[in-house]
Symmetry: C2
DNA sequence: GTTTTCTGTCCGGTATATCAGACACGCGTT
DNA sequence: AACGCGTGTCTGATATACCGGACAGAAAAC
């Protein structure tokens, strides 16, 4: 239970237009002691998914605080199974072909996700704008699916990028089922620090969540960046909790009329996808 | 080392238009004895990817010849990590959200695969036909990526479906780097039994492979089914081996002129994607 | 009704996977 | 040369993960 605050060398995370990646304190707490191979394996995959770039076995071991010999073993086994493959420079590994097949099987098998994909296609075709489906992963917001907009200077995003919930319109909806206290306890304090250096007051965020819950949608701008206008609407699961969101990422200078049209399209689609019958 | 030939209840495998799934004898040989958690985990994922449908923990254990208690444990852990999620009926599990994120990271990170995806988009837009990227997984052919054609009775396929190599045009190219003896040793004898009940003579197949290697493409019909005309061209890796193929799946009654055009498009794209400079 | 079959959970023993550490090697710096 | 640093491989010891089997409850079969 050694809680190291020492900050290991953090490799530069890629910067993406539209959403900037989450700043993790560093990595999951190192529970130390002997761990199961399965847990090591999951740690390796999660690490690669967050770093979003090939890593060497030694780097992985260091980042996870795991024994090198163990990680070398596991990485080798994962490469046999094509879940990892050598990538980039000598000795670097990243996700392999098998992961793609597993992921495709998920998309194909999950009826909700398949319908959402069709909705994104339609929204993208209708408007030419960047549209996303987002959800929660741990205490972060994550892009689950997206269709990039058209045009020379299009705003794009990347599946799997994690961002603090308070930076996003979707975040206001995805926490709509929680009480103020629950939200305070759930969202890490550092996630209220915006990338421009400012700090979002928690009270403001809680009010935003309440407003979003009442109005059934959320619009934000100037949070993760200053050049996008984000619209998000909730997709409710059977339990009435906002499981996913549909989002448009519009240029901040888009016309009010177009914004209104996009929001209407989103609301119609999301209502159709939700499991609640009470519109 | 009990080699059970008793055939366990085999759940019906889904039938897909265009390509029928591979008939596995049943499952991988059960090595028996105590196994590592990691190997069990990989077994679970591979099993679900082949069966292509949710399974209960008990079913998984039976299919793998693994102890129930172990599989229950591992499935639970995988659900915690969102690599599996409950799906379908009570107690059934299938791939989860995390697998999708891992798979998307693979597609994003693998430069070759990303360029292939763009090529498929272009080919699909140009022709409106079903187009695929295929590869080898073990001794089977597998669809790695696809874009389905337009139209009311379109021919579709599904990422991840495995099929015996001799049933496909791509199979003739993917074995192009092997000697006759190597091919005989590599392809399971039962894979020469076609779904219509006929048997493909090995000699014929070897000649096909030779022809495909010489001509740089392969066309087949009447193998996996009788209503498609398949065209495949190789994408060579740095070592000169056909690592992927690009394929059109055309209706068998398509015009010769259209076929010729499609083949030309394929060849141009694949040459551009190959790592060989000797066009 | 009884019986059988399945599911999900729990428990103790032991085969072994994980771990710490050593080692050889390559590479860049002093 | 000597040194520091990082990589990849190997080994032996031991903490424990995996396994077999038991158990209760539900559901299906008879």
């Amino acid at each position: 239970m050694t809680l190291k605050t020492r900050r290991l060398r953090v490799p530069p995370l890629p910067i993406h237009v539209g959403v900037s990646p989450a700043i993790r304190p560093d990595d999951a707490p190192h529970p130390a002691g002997r761990q199961r191979g399965i847990d090591r394996l999951i740690g390796v995959l999660d690490l690669l998914q967050r770093r979003r770039q090939p890593m060497g076995a030694g780097d992985i071991a260091r980042a996870l605080g795991a024994p090198r010999s163990t990680i070398y073993e596991i990485v080798e086994r994962l490469m046999d199974a094509q879940m990892l493959e050598s990538s980039g420079a000598e000795g670097q590994v990243f996700f392999g072909r098998a992961m793609h097949l597993f992921g495709a099987a998920y998309l194909h098998g999950d009826a909700a996700m398949r319908r959402i994909g069709e909705a994104l296609d339609a929204l993208s075709a209708d408007t030419g704008m960047t549209v996303q489906c987002c959800g929660r992963r741990g205490d972060k917001y994550v892009v689950l699916e997206c269709r990039d907009g058209a045009g020379p200077f299009r705003i794009t995003s990347e599946i799997g990028v994690e961002v603090p919930l308070p930076w996003t319109a979707s975040g206001r909806l995805l926490l709509g089922h929680m009480s103020d206290e629950a939200i305070r306890a759930f969202v890490p304090p550092e996630d209220f620090h915006l990338p421009d250096g400012g700090v979002l007051p928690i009270r403001t965020f809680l009010d935003d969540v309440e407003t979003a819950r009442r109005e059934g949608f959320s619009e934000t701008t100037g949070l993760a960046n200053s050049f996008t206008w984000c619209q998000a609407v909730p997709i409710f699961g059977r339990d009435g909790v906002a499981e996913f969101t549909l989002c448009f990422v519009l240029p901040v200078d888009s016309a009010a009329k177009q914004r209104a049209r996009c929001l209407d399209l989103l609301l119609a689609r999301a209502q159709h996808l939700s499991h609640t019958d009470t519109g």
